[in-house]
Amino acid sequence: MSESDASKAEPTLVERWLQDQQQWQRTLFTYLDSMMKNDEFLMHMGNAMRGSLLAGKPYPTTPPPAAASADDAATADRLEKVLYALHQLQGQMQDVLMTLDEIRAGAKATRLKPDSTKKPARRARAAAGARKTGNRRPRS
């Protein structure tokens, strides 16, 4: 192998340094590109770097509301009590609805079930009628 071939195969330190710089530029642009194109990229990066309670959610952009007055707090407290009572009522209503569904399903199942008691009763009534009239069905 000639000296010129060897120099082509193995870049000099300066060439490698230049290549490395170009690679760094590429990495930087890839990050910038992802930040611009992918809304979630920064969020995922933030979550990966810090123990964030905002995991899976964008960082808040609006300031938190100012502290409420004592009156507002009392009203909010009463409203929350009412709201929780409504949630409990919702649960009780769902219990009632589920019970109704069960009753309906039970009734439907009873209607759909082949009734083994009805036929003999009908037959018995028919037989009783036949006995009264003396009009008996001939046996096959």
Binding site: L13, S34, H44, M45, A48, G56, Q90, G91, Q94
Partner: protein, 358 residues
């Protein structure tokens, strides 16, 4: 000509630069790859809603519900339900579904301000009981299998003692039974003042405060510096592995706020020094809980390296439910359910649920 010493130094600098860049490129790949937390889990349909709760029914590949025996997963209400259905290839619930079960998962959601009044009775005899009822109505089964994780296991155990005829099999995962066992989240919460939590005038306990209890279990591990260092050191690992680590860390971070009344009641009944489950004096609302009523087959699994629910406190179920099968797996609280070695637990659970299935 360059000095050989300088040349060596420049070579070393170049190598460090290449390594750093390779790590940043890998980080970019991880952050832009699919399967992020909460986005890749098994397809599901919402079959029931109440307050913030959603009852999910897993669907098969064609978008249809499965028809096997029903299994209800009950996760802890203070964290996200995703832990049992984390990623398509890392899903406990998905594994159970593929084994032929009709899987339902409770998502307790994020409590609002009004939910600070919610107590143990609301969770056990309200939300959980109605979810079981709904599963029974949908599947036509009078009794169903329940898999409870962590605090979700406590709720499931209490429910099973109250309504044993509706539960065919009960699986409890890292569920604390003996509140006097030192260590664990209950102990840390006790040290950090949970005793002061008011039942009568409850507040919505902020997620950050609950998270601080978890962080106290391994101080410093979740600090900004700790996190960045950990991430930087791991960046030489394969992208798949990094994705798992990140997904898990994100789930651990994503604690939700909790009703103060529920926490106060849990502490007063099951916390250190109270321990009413072990004493046999636990109550839900006005009803006494008698664990002798838990007659269905029970499997309890503890994790040997569990910092949140110490294994000894979990295995104490032996004295409460003597017929329970007790198993201890290597790993931590989250790892045994969703980590790389979680398959052992998933398989064991499926075997237990399949036993005597007609």
């Amino acid at each position: 000509m360059t000095d050989p010493g300088v040349e060596r130094e420049l070579e070393a600098m170049l190598a460090r630069s290449e390594q750093t860049r390779a790590r940043l490129d890998r980080l970019h790949d991880v952050l832009t790859s699919g399967g992020h937390y909460g986005t890749g889990a098994t397809p599901a349909a919402v079959v029931h809603q109440e307050n913030k709760l959603r009852l999910l029914r897993l669907l098969d590949e064609s978008g249809q519900p499965r028809t096997g025996p029903p299994v209800l997963f009950v996760p802890a209400p203070v964290s996200r339900y995703f832990i049992v259905d984390l990623l398509p290839d890392r899903s406990f619930a998905g594994h159970v579904a593929r084994a032929g079960f009709d899987v339902f998962i409770i998502d307790f959601g994020t409590p609002g301000g009004e939910d600070r009044f919610a107590d143990l009775e609301y969770y056990v005899d309200g939300l959980l009981r109605r979810s079981v009822r709904k599963v029974s109505a949908i599947t036509g089964q009078t009794s169903i299998n329940i898999v409870g994780y962590c605090l979700g296991g406590t709720l499931s155990l209490l429910y099973s003692a109250m309504y044993p005829s509706t539960v065919s099999r009960l699986v409890l995962l890292t569920t604390m039974i003996d509140g006097d066992t030192r260590g664990g989240i209950a102990w840390v919460a006790h040290q950090m003042g949970l005793a002061g939590e008011s039942y009568e005038n409850p507040r919505l306990v902020p997620a950050a405060e609950i998270k601080s209890w978890f962080e106290m279990l391994a101080p410093g591990s979740n600090s900004l510096i700790g996190r960045v260092n950990d991430l930087w050191e791991r960046l030489d690992e394969p992208v798949d592995r990094l994705r798992d680590v990140r997904t898990m860390a994100t789930w651990v971070d994503d604690v939700v706020a909790a009703p103060g009344r529920l926490l106060a009641e849990l502490y007063q009944q099951f916390g250190p020094g109270r321990n009413r489950l072990m004493a046999g004096t636990a109550t839900v609302g006005s009803r006494s809980i008698d664990c002798a009523e838990v007659t269905m087959p029970v499997l309890s699994v503890s994790a040997a390296k569990d910092l949140i629910a110490p294994a000894d406190g979990v295995d104490a179920i032996r004295s409460l439910v003597p017929h329970a099968e007790v198993m201890r797996l290597p790993g931590g609280h989250v790892g045994i359910v969703a980590g790389r070695t979680a398959l052992a637990l998933w398989q064991r659970t499926v075997e237990f649920l399949m036993r005597n299935v007609k």
